[in-house]
Each structure stands twice: as C-alpha cells, then as structure tokens.
C-alpha cells in the first residue's frame, strides 16, 4: 500500500497541483466577480454577496453535500462532464480542484473587493474620459494599480486551497495515489497510527502556508503603495 510507505510524496505533489490550478481559476474568476461587486450596481448584489460569503460559514460537509448533488454522476453537470471527458468528475483529483476552489474563492473575492475599491476612481475616470473603454480601463489602470494587493491575495488563496479537508473528502474521497491530498493524507496517517508521516506532512503544510503568508501579510498591511 502506498500509505504504508512513509516517504510517499504523492499527496504533496497532488496538493500542489490541485492548489495551483484552483488558485489560477479563483484569481481569474474571482477578480472578475470582485470587480463587478466593487464597480457595478445591479439588482440582487447583496444576495450574491451573501451567497459568496456562505461557504465561509457553512460546515464543509454541507458544502460537500451540495457539490455532490451538483456535480454527482446523476446530475446534469456531472453527466455533461462524463460525456465530454469520458469519466465521472466525482472522486477524481479534478473534483479536489473544485473542492479547493469552493474553499478559497469566498476568501479571495471578499478580500479582492476592497483592494479594487481602493483604486482611486479618478484614475479610472481619467482613463474613461480620455476615451478608454471599460475593459481597457480595467486592464490597463485598475488591474495594474491593484496588482500587489491581488498578488498577495493569490498567495493567500494558494495557502487556503492547500488546506481544504472536509469538502475534498466528500467529493474527491480518499483514494491513495489518486485523490489523496495532503490534508486527507494527514488524517489518514493519524488514523492508521503513522505518527512520523503525520508529523512530516503537518510540518510541510505549516511551512508552506507560513512562507506564503509572511510576505503577503507585509504587502497587505502596507497597502498597495503606488506613489
């Protein structure tokens, strides 16, 4: 068994891959969502804001349950995925990506909104009155001016994506060598009395998270200093 080998690094590589992909997707989609929330007024904005906050407060099992309903093999989305890619989505490492996204996206969007709001509207107005479309204003003014803040948030998002346990185990399961991520592997190691493996993995997760948060905290505290 793979788990009996204390030097099995698979969970680490899987977690890094899952977290990288999840972070990439969350930063792209989340920046877009945060832009809409910070720059637009529309009906149902507060409802959407609440829906985005919800995953932060709901138990992971509840979220996992919803996800199973949404992307399970019997659901329309799950079936569509199966038709497109020839395999079910649940209990694969791709499902772990979705779990990680659900875990980290709310945090990113919540924090990215004030970062985008902090860009002085006069820069955006100046660009618009010079003739720039909303899109190029976003791309060439808003985004570069919030780059540092969003970059730090991306680091935060990566660290958080690395750490999901509850939703992952519900929708991706605990299949050693296939869907067993770091946090699941730690649980597994503790359960099976493999104290040495648990200690190593715990230290790795803590170290990576700290290494990411330390510089990010510095930037987030000093603000996006564009003087």
């Amino acid at each position: 068994m793979a788990t009996s080998d204390p030097l099995d690094w698979f969970p680490l590589w899987l977690s890094l891959r899952v977290a990288s992909i999840a972070t990439l997707l969350v930063v792209i989609a989340g920046t877009f969502a945060a832009y809409l929330l910070s720059h637009k007024t529309f009906r149902g904005k507060n409802l959407i804001d609440s829906l985005i906050t919800l995953p932060l407060v709901l138990p992971p099992t509840v979220l996992g349950y919803y996800l199973l309903v949404l992307i399970g093999r019997a659901s329309p989305l799950g079936r569509l995925y199966e038709i497109l890619f020839g395999q079910p989505l649940v209990f694969t490492w791709q499902a772990a990506v979705i779990a990680a996204m659900l875990h980290s996206a709310p945090l990113f969007i919540k924090a990215a909104r004030p970062v985008l709001e902090a860009v002085d509207y006069r820069y955006e107005w100046a660009a618009r009155s010079l003739g720039a479309s909303e899109w190029s204003t976003f791309w060439r003014i808003t985004l570069p001016l919030s780059r540092q803040g969003l970059g730090s948030l991306a680091a935060l998002t990566f660290a958080r994506s690395l750490g999901d346990f509850g939703v992952t185990i519900m929708v991706a399961g605990n299949i050693p060598g296939r869907t067993q991520t770091l946090s699941v592997a730690i649980y597994d190691a503790v359960e099976s009395g493999n104290g040495r493996l648990a200690r190593v993995l715990v230290l790795i997760v803590s170290g990576v998270a700290l290494a990411l948060l330390w510089p990010a905290a510095h930037v987030l505290r000093t603000g996006r200093s564009h003087t």
Binding site: A126, A127, G131, L145
Partner: protein, 365 residues
C-alpha cells in the same frame, strides 16, 4: 465648437445631507468659461454631468451639435465617447506609467481619425516640448513637482484632441508663483485649442485672471452670467456683490436724478454722493451703494477741496497682502498702502472719496 446644456439633477437628501437640486442652463463657446462659486454650489457636479460621470435626471447636452445626453429620447453617451478632456483636482496622472506613457495611453485610446493616428508619435513629442516636459518624459508622476504634474495632466488631455476641456479647481494647493505659471499655460492652451474650456473655481482672483465668460453659481443655480467685466463690475444683487468680497455695500437712497446731464445724487449715511445717471431707478428709491474697495481713496479729515466723500469713524486696521486693511463703521473696508497709512495713523475719523465713476447702485427688491 460649442456646448449647449440644460442639466437638472436632484438629490433627495438624507440624515447627513440637505436636499440639493442642480438646475442650470448654459452655452459656452471657445474661450475660457469660469464657473465661480463656493464649495457645494454644484460646480464639479456640472462638470461630471458633461463628462458623463453623473447622469442628470432631466435636460440635454449638446456638444458641436452632437447629442451627448437627452432625457427625452433617452440618449446617454458613455464617458469614453464624449471626448471631454477632464483635468481632475489632483491631476490623476496614472502612477504606474511614465509621463510619456501617460500621453501615449491618451493618444492610443482616443477615437482619433487616421491622420491623427499616424501623427500620434510626433504629436506626443510636440506636446512634451510645448509643456516643457521633454526632460521629464521618462519619469513617473510621483517624481514630478506640483506644477509639472499640472502641465503633464494638460498635455495628456490634449494628446486626445478633446472637444471640450473641463478643469476642476486646477490650481488648488499650488503656491502663488506656480499659479501664475499655470495661468500662462492655460492661456497658451486656449490659443491652440479651438474648443470651449470650462474651469471650475471658488477663487475670485483665478476668475479675474482667466475668465472670458463667468457663471456665478450657488446652491445648484446660476445667479448671474455674462462677460467677465460685466459680471464682476456690475453684480446683479447685493448678495453677489458681498460674495465677491471686493465690494463695500452701503445703504443709500436716491435723492436726485438727471438723465440730461447724466448725474445722480445719493443720500448715503446722511452724507451726499454724486454719481452718473442711474437708468431704471426713480427718485426716492432705496437700495445700496456698491463701491469696490480698491476704488475708494482714504484721505485725512483735514484734506481740502474734496468732492464726493463720506466721513466715517475708523474701527481698526490690519495688515493685508496689498498694504493695510482699514475697517470703518457700517462694515466699510478700504485697502491702502503702508505709506498712506503712516500719514493717516491715529485719526479717529477719516474721509473716504468715492469717485463718481465708481458709483454703482443696486435697488431693493
């Protein structure tokens, strides 16, 4: 090149703010039009409506016969299609770009015709040259002084060949010397730009310096408008005269009028003042004599052969930027030089000469 606008925008007000209504109608051609008024008058809101950052509830905006906004037919051009060069209070130069990149951005996003696009590069160099920015082109805005930023903001706006130039309190926070320099730059801009230039300020001196046309504004409305001289020399109401800050406003009654000899006679503080004929007024009309502080002469009570004078008790004196500011009873203020003041020092009452040509009467009601 002209603007024609009627703007109505209402704010219902809440716990923190009074209800406010902007309701203005104006036309502006090439040259400098100044919106002068205290803060909260709606000056910046007017600019924002023109530029497309605030949507009026009613009215229409026509620039060079192109409809920018019309409440009736629901036309609303977005800001990027209005080509309004907007100079913001703190310049709003993009901090992550160099000055040249700022200008390049403006030229790249402006909806220029083909010739304009081909000449882009040359135009940018030309503008950098004109505004004395060539040596600073590679710097970021943070490395520029206030005056340099000001010029860069103007150059950037002109790179897009705007149809209208909007300036929101452009000299706020600049010291006197830089202000003067900026007035020169604005005048230069007026020469090269055949477009209306709308400037918002609460600074009377700035208005005197730059305006071709003045709109006096308060609480969302225009109080008076016209060529600069007409507005500043002939304020329509005593409130306006007082708000301009350069007038003495003294109660008066017309005691004689003679259109044939172009004379009038005013009873002011139980003393007599002669003036030119006052058309549109009748003998016995009560109102106010308005005299610019700078046009009054202060004389010793022993001076002889002086016509047209008021004898007033001195209440105090204080230094001012142009000499000494003397205050008299009835809120009369005069500004005289240090040397004159030395001669008059210590007197309880002084005589004030009101030149006949300076007499301006505003009737009650």
């Amino acid at each position: 090149m002209s603007i024609e606008a009627r703007l109505i925008k209402r704010f219902p007000g809440d716990r923190e703010s009074e209800p406010f209504e902007l309701n203005v109608r104006f036309q502006a051609g090439p040259g400098i039009t100044v919106l002068l008024g205290p803060s909260g008058a709606g000056k910046t809101l007017t600019l924002n409506c023109l530029a497309g950052f605030a949507r009026p509830d009613d009215g229409r905006i026509l620039v060079n016969n192109e409809l920018y906004f019309d409440a009736g037919t629901n036309v609303y051009l977005p800001p990027q299609r209005r080509r309004c060069g907007y100079i913001f209070q703190d310049h709003a130069l993009f901090p992550h770009m160099t000055i040249r990149e700022n200008l390049r951005f403006a030229a790249a996003v402006a909806p220029l015709d083909k010739a304009g696009r081909l000449n882009r590069h040359r135009r940018i160099n030309e503008l950098l040259e004109t505004f004395e920015l060539s040596d600073l082109a590679a710097r970021k805005p943070a490395q520029l002084s206030g005056g340099q930023k000001q010029r860069a903001a103007l150059a950037r706006v002109l790179a897009g060949e705007p149809r209208v130039l909007l300036l929101d309190e452009p000299t706020r926070g600049l010291e006197a010397r830089l202000r003067r320099a900026f007035y020169e730059v604005i005048r230069k801009t007026r020469e090269r730009l055949n477009a209306p230039l709308l400037l918002v300020t609460h600074d009377l001196e700035e208005c005197f310096e730059l305006a071709d046309t003045v709109f006096l504004m308060a609480r969302g409305h225009f109080l008076q408008s016209g060529p600069r001289e007409a507005v500043l020399a002939r304020p329509a109401t005593t409130d306006l005269a007082r708000s301009l800050g350069v007038y003495n406003v003294i109660e008066a009654e017309i005691s004689a009028l003679d259109p044939a000899r172009n004379t009038s006679h005013l009873r002011v503080l139980n003393q007599d003042i002669d003036g030119p004929y006052l058309p549109g007024h009748l003998i016995g009309d009560r109102g106010f004599l308005c005299v610019r502080q700078a046009e009054m002469k202060v004389l010793s009570p022993y001076a002889s052969g002086v016509q047209n004078q008021l004898t007033l008790r001195v209440l105090g004196s204080s230094p001012s930027s142009h000499g000494v500011r003397l205050t008299f009873e009835h809120d009369v203020v005069a500004i005289i030089s240090e040397r004159e003041y030395d001669k008059l020092r210590g007197a309880d009452t002084l005589r004030i000469e009101v030149p006949r040509s300076a007499v301006y009467f505003i009737g009650n009601g």
